[in-house]
Amino acid sequence: MLVTSPAFKDNAREALADRQLQKALGNVRAGFIDKRRKAVEALPEFDALRDSARAIKDHTLAHLDLYLAAYEEKVTASGGHVHWAETAADARGIILDICRKHDARVVAKGKSMITEETALNDFLEASGIRPVETDLGEYIIQLRGEHPSHIIAPAVHLNKEQVEADFRRVHTDLPPGRDLSDPASLLGEARRVLRKQYFEADVGITGANFLVAETGSSIIVTNEGNGDLSQVLPRVHIVVASIEKVVPTLEDASQILRVLARSATGQEMSVYTTVSTGPRRPGDPDGPDEYHVVLLDNGRSSMLGTEFQEMLRCIRCGACMNHCPVYHAVGGHAYGWVYPGPMGAVLTPSLVGVEKAGHLPNASTFCGRCESVCPMKIPLPKMMRHWREREFERGLNPAVARYGLKFWAWFAKRPAVYRLATYLGMPLMAVAGGTRRRFRFLPFAGGWTKYRDLPAPQGRTFMQQWRDRDHVREGARP
């Protein structure tokens, strides 16, 4: 997938001016935040579970090589095949080989962000294989030639009128006069159209929320049931998962499942949690004849042992973006690659490079809501700051920002000079602020004043006011 993160500022400007998008983004706030809060409040152990989940992932990451080897052994023992892919291109090649071996023409796909990361659909199509997205949101955006704008609600940037127009454009064999005015009729139509596709598909591809080392199982968590139909009806089931998805045991998966559904959609448990192990057993009346797992690294092994290792705890629930004021304002596409929101602002620079994705960790108010709702307690703001530091060290941010910081640092390292300069400067700024006590334009700060005024200082510095406060307090003591 083309990385448009370098154009984040332009993307964001367009997003802010897009009235359809702004209307749709209201659904993020309305649809996720309250539901999550209620589910969390209904479980007194939620915070203890977060700590437990974090400890499980930390332990697993510290022993990742061993758990991956143990997992592979169990997959093989249950009759499945494990394929290792260092890069996205490797993963695509492996999947194509499996499809070709089975003369696959149609592939049914459950929702998978890893197949977005590997840009699998375009590749399969170019190879003459038709991938059919079966998750309702993914299906809609596939019809539009778009990418997900949210990791669990891929079509959250759209309104129902847009979906109706797409269905009328694509489902031309259906009566033109049919009613598609409400979400229920749209869902009904997608259900009927996609039903046929599951039966036509030769191969089913799903992602994985967890890989279990103890049993060699993959686990998917869904609400629609499409991921299950995609893996039970075709002859071949391919699971595509990144290496950090492994957990040691079924008990460990259980701990994380409890925080996953609540953080994602505010459900006590998602409708379908499905544990798949190997191909169908002798005598089984249904299920795939072959079971393959493609394990993707794609840069993750290099995050281990760095200040970004904790990002690999992420379970892709989407809570960070659901609570992010920047995501609420610009939506997911502005971020310019697969992963939007705070988790994307940390992960994207790790996977595609900070030179391309440097804007993302800068597009943060550091309000800290992402970290406070993260079920895995990932310190997202801290890691965004790490990216800013790296960007500064490598001289990647704009000259104005670099010199501005150096200028400020010179004063900050010389407290006496700093105090004198502010002591002299603040009254002048107060006067310059005029009767409105605000600036509509400031040199070198046009990016700020273009969208809002900067309040003018009141005339006295913080240090002066603090000293007076201390003085008053001390004076008040008996």
Partner: protein
Amino acid sequence: MSAREAILGKVRKSLGAGEDNVRLEEVWDRLMKAPRGVTPRRAQLDPAARVALFCEMAKNAAASVVRVADGAAVPAAVADYLRARNLAQSVRMGGDRRLRNIPWVTQRALQVRHGPSDGEDEVAVSHASAGIAETGTLVLWSGKDNPTTLNFLPDHHIVVIDAADVAADLEAVMALTRQRFGKGDMPRTVNFITGPSRSGDIEQTLLLGAHGPRALHIVVVDG
């Protein structure tokens, strides 16, 4: 060097880890012992209250629930469900022993077909292997007499469960699965099902009946 060796090598290098025995022992210890973590107090109840919680949580997840005294009462409960929704008296089910022990012939109008679904069935009947009181979740193991397609293709999924099989929490069911299939072994598919299928993908409006069943009906057998 194979991709496998390359990836595992990079992981070890980044972690600064060698192939030492201490790490290996920690891993095997965890895999063998499978320690239970935090389990919610809400489901730590006596059996009667546990089944009541199971029913309540399943209803919260938009399933319908009916309780019957014994297996002999199941056919009538199924027939009632079909009649109330104006559905044909016809169901498909697998050959599960627990389903075969139910006297379906007592409902003479009820047609019972066996085997996996081809997508044409309106109603399927399954027997759950366990329930989870904590969340109102049904647990279904695939096997030669328990086709997975029955859980997803029909519009209506009726699941029979013995009250005695309702466990407290997820961990209890994981332990049960291990006991039934052996340590580290699993059936091809374990379905944890909590309510009927749904989607919120259009404007975050929650709608039931996405790709799986539009309705989930649970028959709890108390006797």
